[in-house]
Structures are given as structure tokens and as C-alpha cells.
């Protein structure tokens, strides 16, 4: 055996790995011989032309590798044919291009719709003031997703923060998705005094809320005091087990959510905490807002289709187009004794 430089040994090892790009049968049949030839040529190139010759041969082999893996393998070859068919689709009508376009569309749709973003329409007014009935929005499903050990450094994952707007599965019926604002995180003490939130002993000044009912409701506005009959079973469970000194205390892996339209919002006050794992995502943009009643937006109806077709331009709220619902931090002030 002739001596081999470490650079050459390294090249040979890399080439050995690159052989895996060839189809299995081809690699089993010729892989060893190809490695042998590669090494022989490396040795001669280095002897006659030095490092430069070695590098030139390595580049030449890389180009050879690209073209021959495509030629030997049935799959990339089919892909190349496919691309050609799609390219030439404008000139000659091939049925294949029609099928392939739909395959690509469906794949993209499945991928994008289930993992990255999802479109929702808001049918109810519990976030009115921030998110309106008839807002169609895209929800980013990634930001609040559970971060993997590797992906956490690459993708913009973030944990929930107070003031964030989130979409989550309604704990009473996971077929529905709700959008609310995060008010309390695990460990937070929450109560309401005359419609104002007291969190951990500090009063919140919340610029994003709106109040539509001047009267006071004992339970809704002085939560968790007042008669419990408005709460659901889940809500009652919260009131039984998580109230300390007249305040609810958010347990681990849960959060307390309320709508910005405080007087008309079905939220954690009535049905309890939301499990962290029920979070779907974060609204990123309102791509279309159409003035329609709740009943039209909850299901599919011919009336709604007619309404949209006839009044698309007049009932679309153009000023809400491409609006970004923003997280907002409430200002905290000490409670005056």
C-alpha cells in the first residue's frame, strides 16, 4: 500500500458517504469498485499534480456524482421528467401537469394548514374592541408550540405572556376555538373589583378593554365573589379548589383568560382555567373582515354566500384589512387601601 495523506483519506471517506445517494442495487454492485477507482485516481492526481490536482479531481467527481445519481436513480429521474412536464404545460396540454399541480397544491395546503398557519373566523363579540365579529384571521400555530431541544434555537418559539392574545380550544367543547387575552399565568392571584382586575395585589389599567354594560353584576364584575350559579361545572371546580383569600390562584400548566369585551365575554370567570396544552396559536393578521351576524359565521349557509357576493365591497371592513391584533401589557398600579 502506498502512503495516503490525511486529506485524501478524508476525501475517500466523504465519497464513501456520497455513494449512498445512488440506488441501493447500484451501490451494492459497484460501490466498492467506485471507491477503489476514486482512491486510485486521487493517489495519482496527488502524485502528479499535488494538492491542486486532488482538488480538481474532487470537484470533477462532485459534478459527476450530481449527474450520475440522477441518471441511475429512478426517483430523481422521475422528478426531472415531472419538472419538465410542468414547464412545458403551457405549450402542450399534458394531463399529468393538471394532476401534478393539484398534488402540489394539496400537499402545500395540508402542510401549511396543519402545521404553520390556520385560518379562523371570529363569530362572537367577546373580544369586540380588539377582534370584531366577522374578522377572518390567520393564526400562527408555531410560536406557542412546544419547542423541541434543537428547534428552540432556530424558530421563534415563545412562551405565553400576560397580555398576549391567544387562540385555544374551548375547554368545555374542544371542537370550538376561542380567542381571548391571557390575564393570569401559573401562580398569579386574580380577582375583580368593580370590573377592574386585581392581579397579585396590583390593579391593572387595561387600555384594550371595553365595557358595554354600566350596571354591576356581582359575579362577573366582582369575581370570584358573588353567586356561583353563573359558573359551569368546570367553573365551579375552579371556585371550589383554587380560591385563596377571595382570589383565584392559577395552577401550574394553566392560564386565566378573559375577553376584552369584559361585560359580554364567556371566559375563565365562567368556565375555569385553560390548560396550556389547549393553546392553538397566536393571531397574526386579519386578512379579511366582513360585517356579518354571528349566526352567519358559525356555519355555512346559502344566505351568507349570497350576502358576501352581493355586498362584498360595501360590507367588507376595508380599514381592518391586514390589521395585526397586538399583545398589550396592562399597566399595574398599587391598590389604594
Amino acid at each position: 500500500m502506498m502512503p495516503q495523506s490525511s486529506g485524501m483519506r478524508w476525501l475517500c471517506r466523504v465519497y464513501g458517504a456520497l455513494l449512498y445517494a445512488y440506488p441501493r442495487e447500484f451501490r451494492l454492485e459497484y460501490g466498492a469498485a467506485m471507491q477503489q477507482v476514486f482512491r486510485d485516481r486521487c493517489r495519482d492526481a496527488q502524485r502528479t499534480e499535488g494538492l491542486f490536482g486532488l482538488l480538481r479531481f474532487a470537484l470533477h467527481t462532485a459534478a459527476d456524482w450530481v449527474s450520475t445519481t440522477v441518471r441511475e436513480s429512478p426517483v430523481p429521474r422521475a422528478a426531472v421528467e415531472h419538472v419538465r412536464a410542468v414547464w412545458s404545460a403551457g405549450r402542450r396540454q399534458a394531463p399529468r401537469s393538471f394532476v401534478s399541480e393539484w398534488v402540489v397544491t394539496i400537499l402545500l395546503y395540508l402542510f401549511a394548514a396543519t402545521t404553520l398557519v390556520q385560518a379562523y373566523v371570529v363569530p362572537t363579540g367577546s373580544m369586540e374592541g380588539t377582534v370584531r365579529v366577522g374578522d377572518h384571521m390567520l393564526v400562527d400555530r408555531m410560536t406557542y408550540a412546544k419547542a423541541g431541544p434543537w428547534a428552540r434555537h432556530v424558530l421563534p418559539y415563545r412562551d405565553l405572556q400576560r397580555g398576549d392574545i391567544v387562540c385555544f380550544l374551548y375547554p368545555e367543547d374542544v371542537r370550538q376555538t376561542y380567542v381571548k387575552r391571557v390575564i393570569g399565568l401559573p401562580g398569579d392571584h386574580i380577582r375583580l373589583v368593580n370590573k377592574q382586575v386585581i392581579r397579585n395585589g396590583r390593579r391593572l389599567i387595561e387600555p384594550y378593554t371595553q365595557h358595554v354594560d354600566p350596571s354591576l353584576d356581582a359575579f362577573r364584575d366582582n369575581f370570584p365573589d358573588g353567586p356561583e350559579y353563573q359558573a359551569s361545572l368546570r367553573g365551579l371546580d375552579m371556585l371550589r379548589h383554587h380560591v385563596v383569600n377571595g382570589e383565584v390562584v392559577v395552577p401550574p400548566d394553566m392560564f386565566f383568560a378573559m375577553g376584552d369585551n369584559r361585560d359580554n365575554s364567556s371566559d375563565s370567570r365562567f368556565w375555569g382555567f385553560v390548560p396550556r396544552s389547549y393553546v392553538v396559536g397566536k393571531p397574526v393578521v386579519i386578512y379579511w373582515s366582513f360585517d356579518a351576524p354571528t349566526s352567519d359565521l358559525e356555519g355555512w349557509s346559502i344566505d351568507h354566500v349570497l350576502d358576501v357576493t352581493l355586498h362584498f365591497f360595501t360590507k367588507t371592513r376595508w380599514d381592518r384589512m391586514l390589521l395585526v391584533p397586538r399583545a398589550q401589557k396592562a399597566q399595574e398600579v398599587a391598590v389604594t387601601p
Partner: protein, 125 residues
């Protein structure tokens, strides 16, 4: 399994296939031997990469232009065993037919004054 295949059916041969056959015309060789010989024949114009070389050999084996002639070390290189290839009769006929085809093409080019002896081409009007 292509039975009773005529060499004419295989024409034109691609340059790598033709030059591999030329390399084997002198006798059996292993892969690296073919690679070196092709480079020498063409003045380094045609350098077969390992993928091209064995891709061609695979197709040439299937078309019965070449056959394997066993494994043994090449004393000039080292003591590793290498797979040797030799040309079949069909391979020889195909190479001959391709050479004739190319010769006819060269003659045609010459008769149209595209091809002259070196030194004559640009010299005289």
C-alpha cells in the same frame, strides 16, 4: 436479455461508451485502467468520473457489449483485488460500426472543407 442484437441497433454510441470500448480493444482492464486509458486516448478531454464509468459499464454489461473477466490484483498498483472487464464480440462489432460511422462523418466534413490538415486550415486562401 436482448437476443440477436445487431451492432447497428446500438448506434450511435455515446462518447463514454465508445471510448470505454476503445480502451478494452487492447485487452481486459479494470475500472481505473479504463479511466486512465480513456484520458490518454482523448488527451484528457474526456475524464470519466466513477459514477459515469460504472453507470456506463452497467448498461454495457446489460447490452452485452462487455463482460466481466474475474477479479485479481493489479501488480502495478497494489495488492487489492480489482474487477476486470473485457469486450465481447458484439462490443467489438459495435465499436467497429461506430468507428466507421465516425469515419464517414469525418470524410463528409473533409469534403466540405471543414476538416483539413493542421497548418493548412487558416494558412491559404
Amino acid at each position: 436479455m436482448s437476443k440477436r442484437q445487431s451492432p447497428q441497433d446500438l448506434l450511435p454510441l455515446t462518447p463514454p461508451v465508445f471510448h470505454i470500448l476503445l480502451a478494452l480493444a487492447e485487452g481486459e482492464r479494470h475500472g481505473y485502467g479504463i479511466m486512465q486509458d480513456v484520458a490518454r486516448q482523448t488527451g484528457d478531454q474526456l475524464q470519466l468520473g466513477p459514477g459515469t464509468l460504472y453507470g456506463c459499464l452497467k448498461r454495457m454489461l446489460a447490452a452485452r457489449l462487455v463482460e466481466e473477466s474475474g477479479e485479481r490484483p493489479d501488480p502495478a498498483l497494489d495488492d487489492e483485488r480489482r474487477r476486470y472487464y473485457r469486450m465481447t464480440d458484439l462490443g467489438r462489432q459495435a465499436a467497429r460500426a461506430e468507428a466507421q460511422r465516425l469515419a464517414a462523418a469525418v470524410n463528409a466534413a473533409r469534403s466540405r472543407r471543414l476538416f483539413s490538415k493542421p497548418g493548412v486550415a487558416g494558412g491559404k486562401a
